[in-house]
Point group: C2
Chain length 470, copies 2
């Protein structure tokens, strides 16, 4: 997903400075040849290899069926990372490493919301990541349903001692997720004893969605959870009819000391300029529900497979291609920061960073963050993806993908794989994020798109500078 | 839903005998006037009243939010029936009664399926209605995944001592539901210790679906449950990879002695031929998940509202219109049998029976079971529903709706409200069957369709005989 951290400090990404990485790689000898002429055959061979079988989907199945969900701090995440590292070595990838990262360690524990009035019923819920627990007996209180922060503001006098429910229908993720992230702080400020949200979900079959929330240092933390869309709507209907609503929220969530995790890194080392790097990846961690197949097992495996195919086809580009499976994207972003810091002295030679974290659905192309010249070159490379319909490169209108955002802030051109994501928020952070939500052929096309973009950006004699020189 | 009982003895409905009811109501005086000429104004006034506000949706909300799900034998079902009876009286409906019916009383209890091998995980499941319990410690056994009864047959030697999982993708309800109904008996016959199915669901967000199952008197009963589609697919993938699968099934389900329930009956008594009756209704019971809003709170309320609107508009048809909210459609059909038996001596004067039990989505028309002449007349009446797009009457290709099936077997013409039901099996018998799955405007159009069809069939001087005489 696009970076929440960046959502909160979004001016930062407007301050991208011109940076030398790509512009200095120009190679006059081949500057005249078109990308199409130079790379059509190689691109087609990568596309054929990626779409000719279901290897990526099978590998993703082994990952997510074999280890399940992979929340930061969990044994399943670290076991999955061990397995990936071993598999990458047996793939013949180079410099395979787990780079240590300390990550938050939040544990859900038993949890429930019970409707007490106007009748008894068990509601469908998921605690939000980072929430504190309730007392063991739970918190039983009247519910005040509000429809926005403004609505809460207007009804602040009614909120004291109540459980506030933000019943906000999904519009865009950016517009709706702020209630998940900041709702508890806003409710606490109004004197509420707990905070609930309508799940941030574009569709629901009584399927609640979790995700990260943040407290505010100026107010006392209160427990925070998401109800299913259906349950939130029901509580709102009770209130609209004038029926007092009382619920009991119970959460045994705990935040343990930070735990060690790892960013997975592996390479195909460049044949001419090994110190210049194209990074591509996804995040290996997930929420503690479903299998994290869509978010983001699929993105992680697709990037990995893209690099494996280069190796398999004997393609060693001029520059190094490095696959990075970031840890802790979901509740901390510590993996992305650790990568940035561990490789701080190499960042000026990072010529491109690509992330896939919108589900490996049918790929449409990429969203680009960076300078105009590099954007133009990326568009030129993407033309090679016309056979699989993934040739559209647009300017990133939102924040860059979360794990590459710290690199983009340092001036590295960034790209996010753009996909047909109309059902992404049906499954995102829910128990429904299971392997079957992805399609083997679509996953294969995502692998192809990542492989072609990464390989050509890494190999092009003049990097993305050719376009910059126009 | 269409009758499962009839599914099992489907030849019965082919034996419909010619019956006198409608044919004997001919009234030569008005035989020449067209339905269109006689009833256009009344039909339009019913359509306007039904679609002019959200009264039906609001009433449905009061029912399903107020009482929740309503399984036979539950306190919530009987409380809902009490409320409906009181409301019907205050609506001014006539002869409002709860007609006693003894119904099965199955109680779910605590239940779970835990994956033990190849890794530990809690699977999403619902026990099937009518299942026996497991021992308290559960049943832990290897899983054999089969894809059909034939597949089980071929692998019968492997099934002994195992938990059989029927992983059958949804095609049609009729094709798929047989694994829910008969799977446990087939698995037991092969020596299995428990039976699981992939939920009978056209779409899933890890949302299991319950429903009735039947044992077979020739084999020992074994516990039976449904996994979510996602979980069933995962177990199959494990098996396909050669990974042994072991699960622990725990179910505390109990079948208690039959309990008293009631069919709700209310009328607008006919002004000329009060002993001739048009029945319309839905079923008031539901499964013990979700709210039973779609299945079939909506159908029950739509039929009730159709009759209330006649009363409100001062429309008293020639014959009696009787709304019936059947009990125990879901796991026994005792309400439909009790209605048939309690009114056995009136059935030859039942001129039409209509049920709405496919969700009150956008109405398209009706499916008809009965004689050609009556079918033609029903088509003529349905022309009045062109303004709301509900004018198509087709021959019932399946069984009649479950609650009117016993009447159709006795020769009563039957009609099922036909709707745009593409998402019906997304929610059916699942926690997702909540009010928000229905749309107020569509519910209103269903009310209109039921009201116009019932009123005109009850009022037409020659009943459906006009067509029969052609």
């Amino acid at each position: 997903m696009r970076s929440l951290r960046i959502v909160r400090t979004s001016t930062a990404i407007l301050l991208l400075t011109a940076r030398p990485g790509l512009a200095q790689t120009s190679s006059p000898a081949a500057a005249g040849a078109s990308v199409e002429a130079m790379y059509r055959d190689i691109a087609d061979s990568l596309i054929r290899a990626a779409t000719g079988d279901s290897a990526a989907y099978a590998r993703l199945g082994n990952l997510v069926d074999g280890f399940g969900h992979r929340l930061s701090g969990s044994a399943s995440l670290e076991a999955a990372i061990d397995w990936v590292l071993a598999q990458m070595k047996s793939d013949g990838l180079e410099n395979v490493q787990g780079e240590r990262v300390m990550v938050p360690h939040w544990v859900r524990g038993e949890e429930s919301v019970e409707l007490v009035k106007p009748r008894r019923a068990r509601l469908h819920m998921l605690g939000l990541g980072g929430s504190i627990a309730t007392p063991r007996r739970g918190i039983t209180a009247p519910v005040l349903v509000v429809t926005s922060f403004d609505d809460l503001h207007e009804r602040a006098a009614e909120a004291r001692g109540k459980i506030v429910l933000f019943d906000v229908p999904f519009t865009t993720y950016r517009e709706t997720v702020k209630y998940r992230v900041e709702g508890a702080a806003a409710a606490a400020r109004a004197g509420a004893v707990a905070s609930l949200i309508r799940s941030v979900a574009a569709y629901s079959i009584r399927s609640p969605h979790t995700g990260v929330m943040h407290y505010d240092s100026t107010v006392t933390p209160i427990p925070a959870a998401a109800l299913s869309v259906e349950d939130a709507m029901m509580l709102r209907r009770f209130q609209d009819r004038g029926q007092p609503v009382v619920v009991t929220l119970r959460m045994a969530a705990r935040t343990l000391p930070d735990a060690p995790s790892r960013n997975v890194v592996a390479e195909v080392v460049g044949r001419e300029r090994p110190d210049e790097v194209v990074v591509l990846g996804g995040h290996i961690d997930s929420w503690d529900v479903g299998q994290g197949a869509m978010d983001d097992g699929g993105g992680a495996v697709a990037a990995w497979e893209a690099v494996r195919l280069m190796k398999q086809l004997g393609l060693r580009p001029r520059r190094t291609v490095r696959v990075v499976l970031w840890t802790n994207e979901e509740n901390g972003g510590k993996g992305s920061l650790a990568y940035r810091d561990a490789h701080a002295d190499q960042l000026t030679k990072h010529v491109l960073a690509i992330e896939s974290d919108n589900g490996v659905f049918a790929p449409k192309g990429f969203r680009f963050s960076g300078l105009d010249a590099a954007f133009a070159k990326a568009q030129e490379i993407a033309e090679l993806l016309k056979p699989i319909g993934a040739d559209k490169v647009s300017r990133e209108k939102d924040s860059p993908e979360a794990d590459i955002a710290p690199l983009v802030e340092r001036g590295v051109p960034g790209m996010g794989l753009d996909v047909e994501g109309s059902r992404y928020f049906w499954f995102h952070h829910s128990e429904g994020d299971m392997l079957d939500k992805l399609d083997p052929a679509e996953v294969g096309r995502c692998v192809a798109a990542l492989a072609v973009m990464a390989y050509v950006a890494a190999d092009a004699p003049d990097g993305l500078a050719h376009a910059a020189a126009r």
